[in-house]
Symmetry: C2
Subunit: 331 residues, 2 copies
């Protein structure tokens, strides 16, 4: 009996294991007031995150690519008004919805991004089209819209992105700005922390490929033409099969100046930091010392998942390599 057990264990150990698959998503980091969070909104956060994770994970389970999983997961969050991406995006100071997105394939470091689009229903799809159907990485504004339209992506009237909730936010923001008369006030990350929001996804597929994507409506009251970190490869998004995939959310300017997504990858590559250590250092030390609020999600080549943030909340979730699903909002 003992011999059989040993033989069986030996057999299991020798069987080629299914390669790990994993997926992680975020729906933005910032300050969420626990008392003001209605049960309905809380339920919506969890339900949308779960739906997004399952959409991506189903693709991964069937042997699909990390890239397809990331796109599918982000499309669901873009279509859900509860998140600040696609429909439900925040308004600029001029009362418009300007959307940014990027995607990266860690296999050959291919990447695509769009900035400042106002008519593309799913900016993440436009980012992927830029990656796959153009020799370029980043298109902005009307050029990005023309490219998306030329490539058959769904174009919508700008009012498709309108939601009552975000409209009220910008009206309130404009009144505050008028009252303080400091429209360019800087270095007040906490005051603005509740306005961050972005969605993102990182996935590891059964072939060992890592992909990462990010999509956003930017910051409430951002100036016309401002581009944050979300469409910036190396800042808001990075993926390299040899290290990890990363998607960021937060006060974008800090993420650009510290090249956050690439920095985490570089720490893993150059000083063999674990993804967890690199993410913790960057989010809780580097960014925090600089005054940059936000968070990151990531998956490394072994399928380890991280979700780190230095705000009181980050809507997030993951299905890890054991198939365990979880979603969360607060710390």
């Amino acid at each position: 009996m003992k011999a059989i057990t040993i033989a069986l264990l030996f057999f299991i150990a020798m069987t080629p294991q299914a390669k790990p698959i994993a997926i992680v998503v975020h729906g933005g980091a910032g300050r969420i007031d626990r008392d003001a969070l209605t049960p309905e909104r809380e339920r919506l956060y969890h339900a949308t995150l779960e739906q997004s994770l399952r959409a991506g994970h189903t693709i991964l389970k069937r042997g699909g690519s990390a890239l397809d999983a990331v796109e599918a997961a982000i499309v669901i969050m873009e279509d859900a008004p509860v998140f600040n991406a696609g429909r439900g995006a925040v308004f600029t100071a001029e009362g418009k919805n300007e959307l940014d997105a990027s995607i990266m394939d860690g296999r050959a470091l291919q990447a695509g991004a769009v900035g400042g689009v106002t008519t593309v229903k799913n900016p993440i799809r436009a980012a992927r089209a830029v990656m796959e159907k153009s020799p370029h990485v980043l298109f902005t504004n009307q050029g990005a819209e023309k490219f998306a339209s030329d490539n058959g992506l769904e174009i919508v009237d700008p009012k498709y992105f309108f939601t009552e909730r975000r409209w009220k936010q910008i009206q309130k923001w404009l009144k505050q700005q008028e009252a303080t008369a400091k429209p360019q006030a800087t270095a007040e990350p906490d005051r603005h922390a509740d306005y961050f929001g972005t969605v993102g996804c990182v996935a590891l597929d059964a072939k060992g490929n890592i992909a990462a994507g990010t999509s956003t409506g930017g910051m409430t009251g951002k100036r016309f033409g401002r581009i944050g970190d979300s469409p910036i490869i190396g800042a808001g998004t990075y993926a390299d099969n040899r290290t990890a995939g990363i998607s960021c959310t937060g006060h974008g300017e800090y993420f650009i100046r510290h090249a956050v997504a690439h920095d985490i990858s570089a720490r893993i590559a150059y000083i063999k930091e674990s993804l967890a250590k690199a993410a913790t250092d960057v989010v809780h030390t580097v960014l925090k010392q600089a005054g940059g609020s936000g968070g990151i999600i990531g998956i490394d080549a072994q399928g380890n998942v991280v979700m780190e943030f230095n705000t009181n909340a980050m809507t997030r979730g993951s299905i890890d390599t054991t198939g365990n699903l979880k979603t969360a909002i607060f710390k």
Copy 2:
């Protein structure tokens, strides 16, 4: 006598040395046909590089900031039609001049950038204004133009950027495209190598501050709205007093995907590579293996200067810490 010599040497060794200052510029990398290069054009390259270096160096010698030196040096190259930045920029596939620029201050990792501007005379000044007068890092297209205009920068008619030479280039390019009917041809870096061009500058001032800046008209025949690496902090430009300042030129998409400027900084920070080693590895190994043509210039915290490129030419020059000026075109 011997005692006096020793005392003198001791005195020299103890005297606080003047802190090193240095400046390096590039006017683009690519393929320049030696036989087709007219003496007049060759003279113009050297003369403009020297004028640019001296403008920046004069500021540094007087105790001015690296940031002022970088801006002054780049303005001269933007104003010179011989380089692909500002006046003399290449044309897009649609026959427009769309300009990108970025600047970074290595002291506190402040940065500013503009993308796709068509009416700002000196895009590098607009990048600096974004850094200093807005809470944002990157503005694009009309938003960038409005910001520049609101902040008192010189606005010109788009035809200010027109030069006969560049117009002939785009006409030739359009004919080639028609002939090959492959307007989106990728992975042919060498065919396009002669079209690269960008200007950049890195300076180290007497206070130990490093600044870097980059300005470009992009690639001949680029698609409407395409943004290259020049306005992307971490890709085309990076500066960190603790490591180095970097400005890149070349096939921008490769520089974005490999986060070239930040990668060089990260190698110095994390594995203590010298600037020379990091630049050599990234330009001649990483980029070359990926198929990315171009080059980089940089200065580290000790004042060491690098100018590395994997094309046959990069118009470039430096005034090193000993005050030695040199300009060059070929290897």
